[in-house]
């Protein structure tokens, strides 16, 4: 079979037309938004808690207005007793932890499996109650373990006749009421065990 020449167009695929159109467009395209830097985020009140794993959370927040300004306006000099902080609250036990976050807008937080958490960003003072400015969604961590809850009610005995439709689809046959068994093939003396290789890039992430 002769090789297809590089320049020979395959009309049914609009080869030449499509490539030429792309080439022409390259020379006259208008500038697009800058893709080397992200646009300035619009100021808004936002607090979001994300689950990474049973024992780790990611919390980020943003303010529409600088909360320190609001605090100073409200408390005057007393505002100086407060520091901006994040409080992580566990919904069931009420367990709390607080961390100062003066110049941050995100934080990684330790958590426990199977718990529901809410994160708040606000103002902390050792002598005074926490002043919550923003509160996040509730995020529940996976349990990371087999459930202690069993299901004794679920029917476990399944009659064999539910499977013939599936068997028929695959072409398997039942002869004279007995299943024809095909002996598994032996691999003989051939050494089958695969040696490790250099191929496993990120594929090991699948296990």
């Amino acid at each position: 079979m002769p090789l297809r020449a590089l320049e020979e167009p395959a009309d049914e695929y609009e080869t030449a037309t499509a490539i030429k159109a792309g080439a022409a467009a390259m020379h006259s395209s208008p500038p697009l938004p800058d893709e080397e830097s992200l646009p300035e985020p619009r100021p808004r009140d936002e607090a979001r808690l994300l689950v990474q794993s049973p024992d780790r959370l990611f919390f980020y927040w943003s303010f529409a207005h600088d909360p320190r300004t609001v605090l100073r306006r409200a408390l005057g000099d007393a505002a100086g007793r407060y520091r901006l902080a994040v409080r992580l609250v566990e919904a069931q036990d009420g367990e709390e932890s607080i961390r100062a976050v003066e110049s941050l807008n995100s934080l990684w937080l330790a958590a426990r499996p199977g718990k529901s958490y809410r994160a708040e960003v606000g103002f902390y003072s050792a002598e005074l109650p926490f002043l919550c400015v923003l509160s996040s969604n509730v995020a529940r961590t996976p349990t990371g373990d087999v459930s202690p809850v069993g299901d004794e009610s679920f029917e476990t005995q399944t009659a064999g006749q539910v499977f013939p439709p599936a068997i028929a689809l695959t072409g398997a046959m039942q002869i004279g009421g007995a299943i024809t068994r095909v002996a598994p093939r032996s691999v003989g003396d051939e050494k089958i065990a695969a040696a490790p290789s250099s191929y496993a890039w990120g594929l090991s992430a699948r296990l």
Binding site: P41, V138, A139, Q157, F163, A172, Y199, L203
Partner: protein, 572 residues
């Protein structure tokens, strides 16, 4: 009744890497490599089996972004050119290796013959339309085609119900467009599950999805059949769990088949080894070396450095693939013996999902392995039945109701790969865009595509095309394109690549570009001042999902938030 049911599931996906703004790109080469090494060979393998009466039975997921690229005329044209270039080089290699490197002549010959076959299949058999070929295999009963989230977003990290729903609804519509029917099942990107996803799937008419083993093993109540039977979730959707034993046999870097010393080494490539001046006519215009897919070495050994890899023997590798396939099927008999009695009166179901790209790209002999697996399964089909998830559901066995555990098939089983110190910075921008898109859709999505209504068109006709209707049409286009940019920003591929550090620069740039385009379009929609030239250029580049319905992104949901989860609550 079989002793064991076996369900092979292949997930084929690539991010949207169409770049019409340049004549050629390394990223488009990802698609072309996958077409050459995976999709066409798999089509050929399964078609041959069907023709010979050895009907395979498996599920194959084709992600919407992949479908859009396979259907794209520009990419088809570029692939034809790419394949021709590769074949020319492969033919030159026959002479060069015969004269100068006889130890590499056999693999060079194999490369050439393989590419000739691929080229003939592409141009004559499939005529550039791989999607129709997959559809025919489905019609012939060999495949059950699945969809995937629209741009492969990790749904637990998408912040709004509307944005999650859009990923699902757009995917189902896209699948219908390409294959003429709704999909029964969906491949959740990265098998990433969190509670609430099942409600979206049920709303979209999907019957099942694939989850990691952990989702069911850690679900509540405990699964009576472990991972060897699917479970039923709220809304009636079924979840099938990945089998860890078959996963390890193929995926493991230590004991997996692809690591066998006989198999072709992936990282040695003619693009790195041959003289540059010889390669220049076949490289991109920048003259930079790149992998070309022509490889001559075998794995040789795990700890053997690349420079010491030995020449590849195609016949020895083919024999090894046959042997591994026998071993794999034999192992299923052994597995069924171990599981006997563990699943009550029913045959255990072993679900084995893999990335399709493993078979042929990372593991050249993968399609041969699959061919022989199905040949072996055909011979022992009375004992080990190859089924699809849909077949299993059709059999009508009762499924245990369960609430799954959030999980994924990524490293460590949760969401670390896509939410880590390296890539967490993406989510404030992505989530802000998701919220903003819903607001835009609520305000401006008048019809399915945001296009002018019939009344608008009548008015335009009467008044000879009023400025208002023209402005609305332009706004509709901008709204649709903003939705596309959001979808593209949500692709989990960017966070994955940044975490892996492989093509982190490209991935970060893509994410920034889509967020920047979204913001620019959103600003213009809100201000009513839409710059048409810029819009047209963005439409030209990011042209996927022309059928996109912007109403999927508005807040007028057909199921209540309480069914999905309390507003903003994650994993509740």
């Amino acid at each position: 009744m079989p002793e064991l049911c076996f369900s092979l599931i292949l997930h084929a996906h690539l991010p949207f890497v169409r770049h019409p703004e340049v004549a050629e790109s390394a990223e488009e080469d990802w698609l072309f490599e996958a077409m050459t090494e995976v999709y066409v060979p798999l089509l050929e393998t399964f078609s041959r089996l069907v023709e010979e009466g050895v009907r395979p039975r498996l599920a194959l997921g084709l992600s919407p972004t992949l479908c859009e690229m396979l259907a794209d005329p520009l990419l088809r044209a570029r692939y034809t050119r790419h394949l021709g270039n590769l074949l020319t080089l492969a033919e030159k290699e026959l002479a060069r290796t015969f004269c100068e490197y006889p130890q590499f002549y056999a693999p060079a010959r194999a490369n050439y013959e393989r590419l000739r076959t691929i080229e003939k299949l592409w141009s004559e058999t499939y005529r550039g339309d791989l999607l129709s070929a997959f559809g025919r295999l489905q019609d012939e009963g060999a495949l059950e085609l699945l969809t995937c989230a629209a741009t492969h977003a990790v749904l637990p990290l998408v912040s709004t119900y509307e944005a999650q729903r859009a990923q699902i609804q757009i995917a189902v519509a896209n699948h219908r467009k390409h294959f003429g029917r709704a999909p029964r099942g969906i491949w959740l990107p990265e098998c990433a599950y969190a509670e609430g996803v099942e409600d979206l799937l049920a709303e979209a008419g999907l019957e099942y999805f694939v989850a990691d083993a952990r989702a069911i093993l850690h679900g509540e109540p405990r699964p009576r059949h472990g991972i060897y039977a699917p479970v039923r979730l709220r809304g009636g959707v079924a979840a099938f769990a990945r089998d860890t034993e078959t996963a390890e046999q193929v995926w493991s870097s230590v004991i997996g088949y692809p690591g066998d010393p006989c198999y072709r080494e992936f990282y040695r490539d003619l693009g790195w080894d041959a003289p540059l001046e010889y390669l220049l006519p076949h490289l991109h215009a920048d003259g930079q070396r790149r992998p070309l897919g022509l490889k001559y070495h075998r794995v040789t050994g795990r700890d053997v450095p690349l420079c010491d890899k030995r020449p590849y023997d195609p016949q020895a590798a083919a024999a090894r693939a046959r042997a591994h396939a026998r071993h794999f099927v034999t192992a299923r008999f052994e597995q069924s013996a171990r599981l006997r009695g563990a699943t009550g009166g029913r045959a255990p179901l072993v679900v084995s999902p893999y990335d399709a790209e493993l078979f042929g790209h990372w593991w050249l002999e993968g399609p041969q392995f699959l061919e022989h697996v199905f040949r072996n399964l055909h011979e022992c089909r009375a004992s080990v039945a190859a089924v699809t998830p849909g077949d299993y559901l059709d059999a009508g066995a009762p499924l245990q109701p369960q609430r799954l555990s959030p999980s994924s098939w990524g490293e460590a089983g949760y969401f670390k790969v896509w939410l880590s110190e390296a890539n967490a910075w993406m989510y404030p921008y992505q989530h802000a865009a998701e919220t903003r898109m819903t607001a835009l859709a609520d305000e401006f999505a008048e019809t399915g595509g945001g296009e002018p209504t019939t009344a608008d068109n009548d008015e335009a006709t009467t008044r000879g095309g009023s400025a208002d209707s023209n402005a609305r049409a332009l706004r509709a286009r901008a709204l649709k394109q903003a939705a596309r940019e959001l979808l593209l920003a949500q692709a989990s591929d960017w966070a994955f690549q940044i975490y892996q550090g492989t093509t982190a620069g490209y991935a970060a740039r893509r994410f920034r570009a889509h967020i920047a385009r979204f913001d620019a379009l959103a600003d213009e929609i809100e201000s009513g001042q839409i710059e048409e030239r810029m819009l047209a250029e963005i439409e030209r580049r990011d042209n996927l999902f022309p059928e996109l319905d912007c109403r999927t992104l508005n807040s007028r949901a057909t199921i209540t938030r309480s069914q999905w989860g309390a507003a903003g609550e994650q994993f509740a």
